[in-house]
């Protein structure tokens, strides 16, 4: 029986890695269901041999019990409402408002900054909703889109940064967001965790991370992959010419739908009418849209994007099967054994664990989050006791933002591919920028935010939890400053189309990852030199696993993927 967990964990990881590297060309949900079935078959054989038929008959209950319905139904109702917004012309109304902003004193650049951060502000349950609505609008800012306001380089930065923000906005969403999975577990200790204990750390680090992604795309990605974006610059003769801006009109129903949407979202978040499930609020909002904006039920249903829903359900199934067949126990034991390695310890192991989903990016963050958050929970007082509750909340904040942004760089139909498609880039163009920001900026910054501000909000009675806004500002400047310096220095070292560029980039990842691991260790264990050093080593290992997965060249890789035989 002791080998059962290791065998099933091996099956799960082998299938996930094979999918990631293109050896299995099947939707990841199908692979997860296959993994579930295999784990259950192997588990049934072992359990029958060890305990008899009764243990086998109990297995379905054990693994179905792992499915948590709340985030699934919240996601469905969130998508339902977004469908109404789309059908009634709500996104057109949003475009009109953005045009109005552009002509205001904040100008083009201020509007672009708001536009880039719009996904995290609206916090929809899946970044793909807003991305699908607004990416075509962003494209129009370039020469090929008609407006010709931005150059090719600027358009790459704009689209890449917007997509980064969108593909992390599902984390802090209060309506079925990825973070809610972890908030449920933290609710074991923090009574009001489900009010959104992880939302602010995620939003804060995502805003800062998005800005660094913009810089990475400008300074690194465009130099390392100079020929892999087929957007065209405006010809010199036309560059000076002003294009007429196409008139965008929105129906009155669009404005009404936007108002209903915002009111529903605010009601779901702040619960001014007393405690009620977010699902009820969103369904009521959707019904109001049907009545006021005269849309059909079919329009609402068309808003439902099946990928994140099925990804979450398949993830829960795989997680349930692993839980029922000791897979998580085995993962816990492996990580436990890492704790025994002198140069890693708990701090080093956590620094690797926090980056796990960026190392293994799947099409929807919910898949692995559903499987791994229970493991992280066990590191706390619930089982292994490596961390107390506040330390667990800090690590959870770092883990969740890293996890929730992992659908961005995923080559398995990840959300970032929508951005790559819009900027006419080869698959993998944005991977370096996205993974670097998740690893080096967002994870440590979320931990710092949780430590120095959010814990005091959610546990105000405990004097150990301090509010130290200056410390957050200092760390934000330090983390952003060091990484910006790394990017600027790296870009200066690049030579045109030299293979060394790739190794310079990997070196930057290793440095950024080590700093990130050290800061995470500081946030969790405070000033403990050994633990900070162990965190740095763990961060280094995680960064190596992430950095070497960033494609060295894109066109050749795509060609070999498409031609097939090498696979």
């Amino acid at each position: 029986m002791e080998y059962l967990g290791y065998i099933n964990l091996g099956i799960f990881l082998a299938l996930m890695l094979s999918t990631l590297f293109g050896y299995i060309r099947t939707p990841v949900q199908t692979v997860l269901v296959i993994s579930t079935i295999l784990c259950l078959i192997v588990g049934a054989i072992f359990k029958y041999a060890a305990y008899g038929i009764d243990a086998v008959l109990l297995m379905p209950n054990e693994f179905l019990g792992g499915i948590i319905l709340h985030p699934i139904t919240a996601l469905l109702t969130g998508l339902f409402l977004a469908g109404g917004l789309k059908a009634s012309g709500g996104f057109d109304a949003l475009k009109v408002l953005l045009r109005f902003l552009r002509r205001s004193p904040i100008g083009l650049v201020g509007t672009l900054v708001i536009l880039i951060n719009l996904p995290v502000i609206s916090s929809l349950p899946c970044g793909r909703i807003l991305a699908a609505a607004l990416l075509p609008l962003l494209f129009t800012f370039g020469f090929e889109g008609g407006l010709g306001i931005l150059t090719k380089s600027q358009l790459i930065v704009l689209i890449g940064a917007f997509t980064r923000n969108a593909m992390g906005s599902c984390g802090p969403s209060p309506i079925g967001g990825v973070g809610q999975i972890a908030e449920g577990f933290l609710g074991s200790f923090f009574a009001t965790a489900s009010d959104g204990i992880l939302r602010a750390p995620q939003a804060f680090s995502l805003m800062l991370g998005t800005a660094v992604v913009a810089l990475f795309l400008k300074l690194i990605s465009q130099k390392i992959y100079p020929n892999d974006v087929s957007l065209r610059e405006a010809p010199d003769a036309m560059a000076a010419q002003k294009f007429a801006e196409p008139e965008i009109k929105a129906p009155i129903e669009g404005y009404l739908a936007l108002v209903i949407f915002v009111i529903s979202l605010l009601t779901a978040i702040f619960q001014p009418l007393g405690k009620m499930p977010v699902q009820s609020v969103l369904v009521a909002g959707a019904l109001l849209m049907v009545i006021v904006c005269r849309i059909r039920l079919n329009d609402l249903l068309e808003g439902i994007i099946l990928l994140p829903v099925t990804a979450m359900a398949a993830g829960f199934l795989a997680a349930g099967a692993l839980a029922a067949t000791d897979g998580f126990k085995a993962l816990g034991q492996i990580l436990n054994s890492l704790v025994g390695v002198q140069f890693l310890g708990v701090a080093g192991m956590l620094a690797i664990f926090v980056q796990f989903q960026t190392i293994l990016p799947l099409s929807c963050a919910r898949i692995l989050t559903a499987a791994l958050v229970p493991v992280l929970y066990l590191f706390g007082p619930a089982q292994f006791d490596f961390l107390n509750w506040s330390q667990l909340a800090i690590v959870m904040a770092a883990y969740i933002i890293n996890a929730t942004t992992s659908c961005g760089p995923s080559p398995l139909g990840g959300g970032g591919m929508m951005g790559e498609g819009t900027m006419r880039a080869e698959t993998g163009f944005i991977k370096g920028a996205y993974t670097f920001a998740s690893m080096a900026i967002m994870a440590p910054m979320a931990a710092i935010f949780m430590k120095f501000l959010n814990l005091s909000i959610f546990q105000p009675s405990d004097p150990r939890f301090l509010q130290d806004i200056k410390m957050i500002a200092a760390f934000a400047i330090l983390i952003a400053g060091v990484n910006i310096l790394l990017l600027v220095a790296g870009s200066k070292l690049f030579n045109k189309e030299s293979p060394n560029n790739y190794y310079i980039q990997v070196f930057g990842f290793l440095l950024g990852g080590s700093i990130s691991g050290a800061i995470l260790a500081f946030a969790v264990f405070e000033i403990d030199a050994v633990k900070i050093a162990q965190g740095a080593v763990g961060g280094f290992i995680a960064a190596a696993l992430i950095g070497f997965m960033v494609p060295r060249s894109l066109s050749k890789r795509m060609t070999s993927t498409l031609s097939g035989p090498e696979l």
Partner: protein, 48 residues
């Protein structure tokens, strides 16, 4: 919370403006202003 998000909004706005090659003082200021609005809007959406 308001202050922290206003701060990160401004910081992020300045970095994005720079990344977009909009480097004149006016453009950097507009980027910071856009970031400030984004930060305050974000903060308004969060539990305090």
């Amino acid at each position: 919370m308001w202050i922290v998000f206003a701060f990160v909004g401004i910081l992020s706005g300045v970095i994005i403006a720079w990344a977009l090659d909009m480097n004149s003082p006016k453009e950097i200021f507009q980027g910071a202003l856009g970031g400030l609005i984004a930060g305050i809007l974000m903060s308004a959406m969060l539990p305090h």
